[in-house]
């Protein structure tokens, strides 16, 4: 249950940063850790993540299931499952979101930073008309009457091709097809014209044709100048949409690269493995399996046990190392 904000175990006092000179960075995640202490082991869903999202860019976060993408995404909205412990900072417009009160966080959510949830089928209230839910972020802003919101929803539905808009807005989510539901979630995310949208797996379980329509919807969002963080399994979708790619593994960022360079020559052995597992590159799977879920990972490089080039140095965890231009990688090969 996402109800109670969890007990923050802060590393130190709240840090308000002077962001002079780095005005183009809209969200900065610093040493963020979200851990779940279970009876057997602590699941380190997010473990020391550093990440800077630039204004107006589209950032794709890729990584296999359980690597902590969703936990990271919801953390940026200040939403945490109960029972977790949080440390680090998430800075948005000079404020650490983790230091804000629930009240202050609410004024960020939906209006400044919007969320497009994973799993559209369960992400909408089954007993509320879809149009109302899509327009809900607006209802919190002054001057938005019911009629005005409804008009805006119809515009959004037309724009994201949830057709026919009037009929669709009156319908309940269960009568929607998967692609249409996902597009109305995009409409919902954009409805209050936020600065940042975080989209979680927008193409999961969607066929090729619908995927194209979702990509179009996201291009539309990007063209409005909205900063996009797209969490995805789908490398093709990332290639189509992103400016930069972040690779997550077992709760940590292994690589941050420019999109072109990433698909041309990935830095991390894990990234290379991911690209090799694409169908056009021969569907070669990465041997072994990720260890975050059972808490088996303890120290050193997280990818060590599966890495073809692992050496002695890898017993120590590498830091994020700048390898080329602004691209960074967590691997000793680039030291």
């Amino acid at each position: 249950m996402y109800y109670n904000i969890c007990n923050y175990h802060k590393t130190g006092p709240c840090r308000y940063r002077d962001r002079k000179g780095t005005m183009s960075i809209i969200i900065e995640v610093n040493q963020l850790s979200v851990h779940f202490p279970l009876s057997t082991a602590t699941v380190k869903a997010v473990d020391g993540v550093d990440l800077a999202v630039e204004e107006r860019e589209t950032l794709a976060i890729i990584g296999e299931s359980g690597s902590g993408k969703s936990v990271l995404g919801t953390a940026i909205l200040g939403l945490f499952p109960p029972t977790c412990t949080v440390s680090g900072t998430i800075t948005y417009e000079g404020k650490d979101l983790l230091c804000l009160s629930e009240e202050q966080l609410r004024s960020v959510r939906g209006l400044q930073i919007a969320w497009i949830p994973q799993n559209p089928a369960s992400a909408l209230n089954p007993s509320m008309r879809t149009g109302l839910q899509v327009g809900e972020p607006l209802s919190r802003q002054a001057g938005w009457t019911r009629e005005r919101i409804h008009e805006r929803v119809l515009e959004l539905f037309a724009k994201f091709r949830v057709l026919p808009p009037e009929e669709r807005s009156q319908a309940y989510p269960d009568s929607y097809s998967g692609g249409m539901l996902q597009r109305s979630l995009v409409a919902m995310g954009t409805s209050a014209s936020p600065k940042v949208i975080i989209a979680d797996e927008p193409t999961k379980g969607v066929d090729t044709l619908n995927k194209e329509s979702i990509a179009t919807a996201f291009r539309e969002v990007r063209n409005q100048g909205i900063t996009l963080v797209v969490i995805t399994h789908d490398l093709d979708f990332a290639r189509e949409l992103a400016d930069r790619v972040v690779v997550m593994y077992n709760g940590a960022v292994l690589e941050i690269s420019d999109k072109e360079r990433f698909f041309e020559r990935p830095l991390h052995p894990y990234s290379a493995g991911l690209l090799r597992s694409l169908p056009e590159n021969g569907l070669v799977p990465i041997p072994g399996r990720a260890t975050a879920r059972d808490g088996a990972f303890t120290s050193g490089c997280r990818f060590r046990s599966r890495c073809p080039g692992a050496g002695e140095r890898c017993a120590e965890e590498p830091p994020l190392i700048r390898a080329r231009h602004d691209d960074a990688v967590r691997c000793w090969n680039y030291d």
């Binding site: 996402y2 109800y3 919801t74 939403l79 959510r109 939906g110 919007a114 969320w115 209230n125 919190r140």
Partner: protein
Amino acid sequence: MNALVVNRVLQIIPVLIGISVITFILIALAPGDPAEISLRAILDTDNPSPQAISLMRAEMGLDQPYHIRYFIWLSRVLQGDLGYSYISHKSTIHEILYALPTTFYLATLAMAISIIVGIPLGIAAAVRQNGLIDHVCRLFSVVGNATPEFFLAILLLLFFSIQLKILPVAGSGGIQYFILPSLVLAVGLIAITSRLMRTSMLDVLEQNYILTARSKGLDRGTIITRHAIKNALLPVLTYMGTQFGWLFGGAVVVESIFALPGIGRLTVDAVNTRDIMVLQGCMITFAIIFVVVNLAVDMSYIWLNPAIRYDEV
């Protein structure tokens, strides 16, 4: 969907036949000679004469074998004839139709009280999980479930009728005669309803769409009223619907204590005087109410739940 409804309606027939057979067997197995027991009530004597008893046995058809008696009764029922009371000599249908509104009123009032008290209690308990209301609610549900109706009835009578003298002890008339009985009936249901509503709310609050609502920056109150309650209500109301028939069962005890002339009391009287035809009529009435209530609940569930509706087409 139509096939589903028809199927569901047809299932009623074997259920009713089964219930009528069981009732018949139970009455046949009950100790004592029904003719003799009836006569004691009719003649107001402890020792009716043997001639009177054998005449009565003939009138009640007790000289026939069991299976013949059942089929005679069944064929009459199918013609819409439930027989008559050996005591009052009125037709069974008349007796039942006279008693039903009282019980119906009692059960509806109890249901209304349970909804009005139980649902908000459950919501409050879920919203402040492990808070004061939650603990009070938990205690209440344990005590409410464990207290027998007759005991609660006596406590309430002692307090409101004997001590405070603000409500009548027993009898029938205006709504004041229904307050204590419906309260007694409602307590058990409130206990269950509030727990159920709490569980259902907690379940809903864990759903993905609640996280979505939070991500939109809605405040907790809006999330609970706009997104949680309606979804949490559906299974609870469905359950409560099925309990409507159960309230009729509870009416047997409560009506006897408070001397309300409903079908529960009619049944008890019929048992005591072995007024067989009335007793069978009451049993069939209970069965029909149960079955119809359940059917209505199922139908409303299908109707309210689009997922089921589409699947079954």
